[in-house]
């Protein structure tokens, strides 16, 4: 594509200019050449020192995403679908009539059910006992 000496039609002026320029390039002093050489070595060191892993991070990104997805899938498959409920354990025993849907989480979530009987309730139960004692109800 690009040759140093182009094949285009060069005029005398262009030829003369180029020759003068080439001569000036040849005459560069040693200090300049040394400095240019140092710059070149620095550039080559930079090209040499590139880390292939860092350079190709974009190829590792999909692999990382796939690995993460696989890990999540394994965790989901191996985890129990629902926590084992206390009620389920209780219903294993014959004759038990406990609500099978009850599990510790449900019980804890239903805060109202955990309230102990209040003093008013105790009075009510005492009254019921008195009222039914005469009726022969036990």
């Amino acid at each position: 594509m690009t040759s140093h000496r182009e094949q285009h039609d060069v005029s005398a002026f262009e030829r003369q200019s180029r020759e003068a320029f080439d001569d000036s390039v040849v005459q560069l002093d040693a200090a300049t050449l040394s400095r240019l050489n140092q710059s070149r070595q620095r550039a080559l060191a930079a090209a040499r020192g590139r880390s292939p892993l860092a350079q190709r991070w974009w190829t590792w990104a999909p692999a990382g995403a796939i690995a993460a997805a696989a890990l999540v899938a394994v965790l989901l498959v191996r985890a129990p679908s629902a926590p084992e409920s206390v009620a389920t354990r209780v219903t294993d025993t014959p004759g038990a009539t406990v609500d099978a849907t009850l599990d510790p989480l449900t019980v804890l979530a239903a805060g109202d059910d955990l309230e102990l009987a209040t003093e008013a309730d105790l009075d009510f139960y005492a009254w019921v006992e008195l009222e039914t004692a005469g009726d022969g109800v036990t």
């Binding site: 594509m1 690009t2 040759s3 140093h4 000496r5 182009e6 285009h8 060069v10 005029s11 002026f13 262009e14 003369q16 200019s17 180029r18 020759e19 003068a20 320029f21 001569d23 000036s24 390039v25 040849v26 005459q27 560069l28 002093d29 040693a30 300049t32 050449l33 400095r35 240019l36 050489n37 710059s39 070149r40 620095r42 550039a43 080559l44 930079a46 090209a47 040499r48 590139r50 292939p52 350079q55 190709r56 974009w58």
Partner: protein, 212 residues
């Protein structure tokens, strides 16, 4: 050719995002040797071209070093045939950046004593003792021509100077020059033609003055 359209697109900035994506992982020794050869072949001419544009040896060194680094870091994995126009495009981006910075500095600090000193006062490496090369008389003529040319180049607008440097002095063809300059081939031809005209007039005038 080279896939100049892709080159145009990829070389649109100084350092292009994703430029490394095309590269192989790690540069092989052969590729590094090729890069070394390329840089060694181009560094002196690049320095002279940068110095013509910046008129300061230190600035020229900085720009050439930056271009080398950028090429090595971002484009070393690309085909070697693409390096030359890419390198000169990076080089001229650096030159323009530096000229812009100098312009801003001059604008804001120009009133300070001594701030007006520019690269024109820097020591000219071509006035130093030359290496053994051409015959003394021929060398004198070439040096004189170069001195006149440098003088004339200072009168050129930046884009014409770029076109002349890349096309005539560096010897890039029109397509590669267009890649390096980041413009169309038609623009390259226009800039180059105008540069040649202006330089001829300028140098003829200078010679006539010297003879008189």
């Amino acid at each position: 050719m080279l896939g100049l359209a892709s080159l145009q697109a990829s070389a649109a900035g100084q350092c292009l995002p994703g430029a490394r994506h095309d590269e192989e992982d790690g540069l092989e020794a052969a590729n590094l040797r090729e890069l070394d050869r390329f840089l060694a072949g181009v560094e002196r001419r690049a320095f002279r071209i940068a110095r013509l544009a910046l008129r300061d040896a230190d600035d020229a060194h900085d720009v050439v070093q930056g271009a080398m680094l950028r090429l090595a870091q971002n484009y070393a994995g690309r085909p070697a045939a693409e390096w030359r126009p890419l390198f000169f495009r990076i080089l001229y981006n650096g030159i323009r950046d530096l000229q812009r910075r100098h312009g801003v500095r001059r604008r804001f600090l120009g009133w300070l004593p001594g701030a007006g000193r520019d690269g024109d006062d820097a020591e000219d490496v071509f006035e130093q003792v030359p290496d053994p090369g051409p015959e003394p008389l021929q060398q004198l003529t070439a040096a004189e021509t170069m001195r006149q040319l440098e003088q004339a180049l200072r009168s050129l607008p930046a884009r014409q100077l770029e076109a002349f440097s890349l096309r005539c002095l560096e010897g890039l063809d029109v397509a590669a020059t267009a890649v390096a300059m980041g413009c169309s081939e038609g623009s390259v031809k226009t800039h180059y033609f105008r540069a040649l005209q202006a330089l001829r007039i300028e140098m003829d005038g200078a010679r006539a003055e010297e003879q008189a």
